[in-house]
Amino acid sequence: MTAISSTAGGPTARFRGMLADRDGQLRIVLVLIVATIVYGAFYNDLRQGALRPLFEALPMPSVNVLIVMFYYAILALGLNIVVGFAGLLDLGYVAFYVFGAYTTAFLASPLHGISIPWWFVVIAAVGVAALAGVLLGAPTLRLRGDYLAIVTLGFGEIMPVLARNLDNIDLSAFGGPKDFNLTGGNIGVNPIDAPVLPIPGPWGDELVFSNRNPVAALYLILALMLLVFAICVRLRDSRLGRAWMAIREDETAAASMGIDTVSTKLLAFGLGASFSGFTGAFFGAYSTAIFPESFNFAVSISILIMIILGGMGSLRGVVLGAFVIRYVNDALLPYLGGFVDEPVRAVGAALPEIPILKDRIEAFTLTSYNYLLYGVILAVMMIKRPEGLLPVAARKAELHGEGVATEATFGTSGEVAQAATDFEAAEGHLATPESRPDGTDGTDGTDRGDRA
């Protein structure tokens, strides 16, 4: 065996992704950092000073909108590990966000009279969310993709219900109070301690990172997002990243290459959940209040849309997707609504009496149509551009390729596919009488042994 070592030690393959980042992305990242810092620092001056006409004429995002864009970018990066890297459809990602936010609320608010500094709370929040991810994932990750989607959806739906309902637990049987208020119920938890650094300056005795001092919060979340982005890049380019990708491509083949698929998927679930918990901890502390309504199904789906819009698996893509969706939702739609709402309402007022419809047109608000927009984006992207706006190169080719089998994402050539069909028609049939209704063949039987 001859070693081909002339290029072997080089970083090409290991850092292939990283190098691509360096060429194009590092510059983008720098621009993003500088632009954010400048925009944040001079936002009030700009808005009221030199650029006032610009701010009045165009939908410029406020600092608070930027913060929302950034923390949704973290959520999207986290969900991307689960959906984009490991190929598991998680429709209840918001559940882990709930864990993060409520852990923060429990440990840093008057609700239970505990007041731990946020910098420690965030660690607990990440830990609790990761644990929840592992506990949910352990029994469910063996399920087929669509079943997993439903189970996660259910989980995401249950968490806010628990948050709403666990406000008068009868603990008298255990010697506790008769109406123990764990979660604050419908009214949520308010206030929650903001992250604070004891650094005096023009901002006062201490630096507070909350909506009272949004610029500081903006810088904090920018730093956190860059940290998460870097972690994602490195995970993607690691042995674990390759294993995730292999599982996404073909789970059976991955198992047959020695990858423990269950624990690898569990790791994706746990890491994705921990990012969500991380963001939840920030969200709770930054907004200094949380309500069960903030965590509905639509949040999970809006994060999924960010990933699909940007390109599943593409880190730049999902960040862009998060920025676009949140910007449209929080800045563009209200701005456009300013032009559209009144005329439409006027038309409604002029209409003759039509049951129900007339009232609706009279009360038209463009911003309430955001879910409609989400739905359209989801369906159109899936049909027209499933690889997203900034796709990973390989993914693009794949999704436009021919002959993609039902569950495997690897499109083989027609010849191979034919050979496979012929063969499995003969042998696979023996394997299917009690199993999958989707016609995948008997070789895909990793989980059947356990179930039988």
């Binding site: 469910t140 439903i150 959806l153 259910g154 739906e157 129900i356 739905g375 989801l378 899936m382 989707d438």
Partner: protein, 343 residues
């Protein structure tokens, strides 16, 4: 069927169900704040009866999921929203006909003789249209792509519902008389008869259709093996469209019934009933028609018991808990050994 053998085969599931019952009982009895009403065990039969009627509605929606899943292996997320739009259509129909709670019974009956079929036709067309626009182009794409497209459709329809009737629940005039027909052994009212009178024929009609008609056989063949069915001369696209038409009609019919029975329409009904129905379909073994119907009735009883003895606000937790447990312990459903009903 040999009961003992069935029990033996399903022991694990039974343990789970017993555990659920135990937890519910614990909550219901030891936590009076939640239960509110624990002593009324004598009304148990009535509660179960109410559950059966609700369950029949759930079964209609569940059949929509199971039909489509059987044929495309797709969870048609939009099914719940199609159902919701059915109840929106009923609401609009009531407005158009100018029905009030004082309207004479004859005119109410006459109006619904129009509203029900028209709504079912609209929702059937809508469901088939969704398949055409959002699922057919993705038939060769990975399963999850279609699933995501379905979620998108669901979102669109939910929003359409919200656009038409607004964000809050809208009440209908009470059109169904509240008269008690039967007091013993269980209380049965006119509204219950109404539900049964529409639901049962639809359920039975669908079973009959799938089992005996030519088109029904084509559906079953397509569900078994789409390619082979195509080779045998079955028009697969047409058969799939027909499946969506049927599912949509059932969902629309269920929507009309719910609007009348609950006396309200709300855009969020799609989600809550949708997941209830999907759980029912999984419970009965997705793809299995009879299973979906039985699952629907089972869940109807369950949520009714929950609402009466525990607290309706725990409904979602109970339903999802069951869904998760069934998926984990018995993903092929309770009636998995009978495969013949698949469509």
């Amino acid at each position: 069927m040999n009961v003992a053998a069935w029990l033996a085969r399903n022991s694990r599931l039974l343990i789970v169900l017993i555990a659920i019952a135990a937890v519910l009982a614990l909550f219901g009895t030891s936590v009076p704040i939640w239960g509110g009403c624990t002593a009324a065990l004598d009304r148990c039969a009535d509660v179960v009866a109410i559950g059966v009627f609700q369950g029949m509605i759930v079964a209609l929606v569940a059949l929509g999921y199971t039909l489509v899943y059987g044929i495309l292996q797709l969870i048609n997320f939009a099914n719940g929203s199609v159902f919701m739009l059915g109840s929106v259509a009923a609401l609009l129909g009531v407005e158009i006909f100018g029905l009030t709670s004082d309207s004479p019974a004859a005119s109410v009956i006459l109006a619904f003789a129009v509203i029900l079929p028209v709504t079912m036709a609209i929702t059937a067309g809508l469901n088939a249209g969704i398949e055409r626009v959002a699922y057919r182009p993705l038939r060769r794409a990975p399963t999850l792509a279609t699933l995501i497209s379905a979620i998108g459709m669901d979102f669109i329809l939910q929003n359409v519902g919200q656009i038409i009737i607004g964000p809050s629940p809208v009440s209908l005039p009470s059109l169904l008389p509240n008269d008690v027909i039967l007091a013993e052994p269980v209380v049965i009212k006119v509204s219950h008869l109404f539900v049964t009178g529409i639901t049962l024929p639809l359920l039975l009609g669908l079973m009959w259709f799938v089992r005996t008609t030519r088109q029904g056989k084509a559906m079953r063949a397509t569900a078994q093996d789409r390619e082979a069915a195509g080779l045998m001369g079955i028009d697969v696209n047409r058969t799939i469209s027909l499946t969506f038409l049927l599912a949509g009609a059932l969902a629309g019919g269920a929507g009309v019934i719910v609007a009348l029975y609950n006396g309200s329409a709300w855009w969020q009904y799609g989600f809550s009933y949708g997941l209830l129905a999907f759980t029912a379909a999984v419970f009965g073994g997705i793809g299995n028609l009879l299973g979906a119907a039985v699952g629907g009735i089972f869940l109807g009883i369950l949520i009714s018991l929950n609402a009466f003895y525990v607290d309706p606000r725990w409904q979602e937790v109970v339903v999802f808990g069951i869904l998760v447990l069934v998926l984990i312990f018995r993903p092929t459903g309770l009636f998995a050994e009978k495969q013949s009903e698949r469509a």
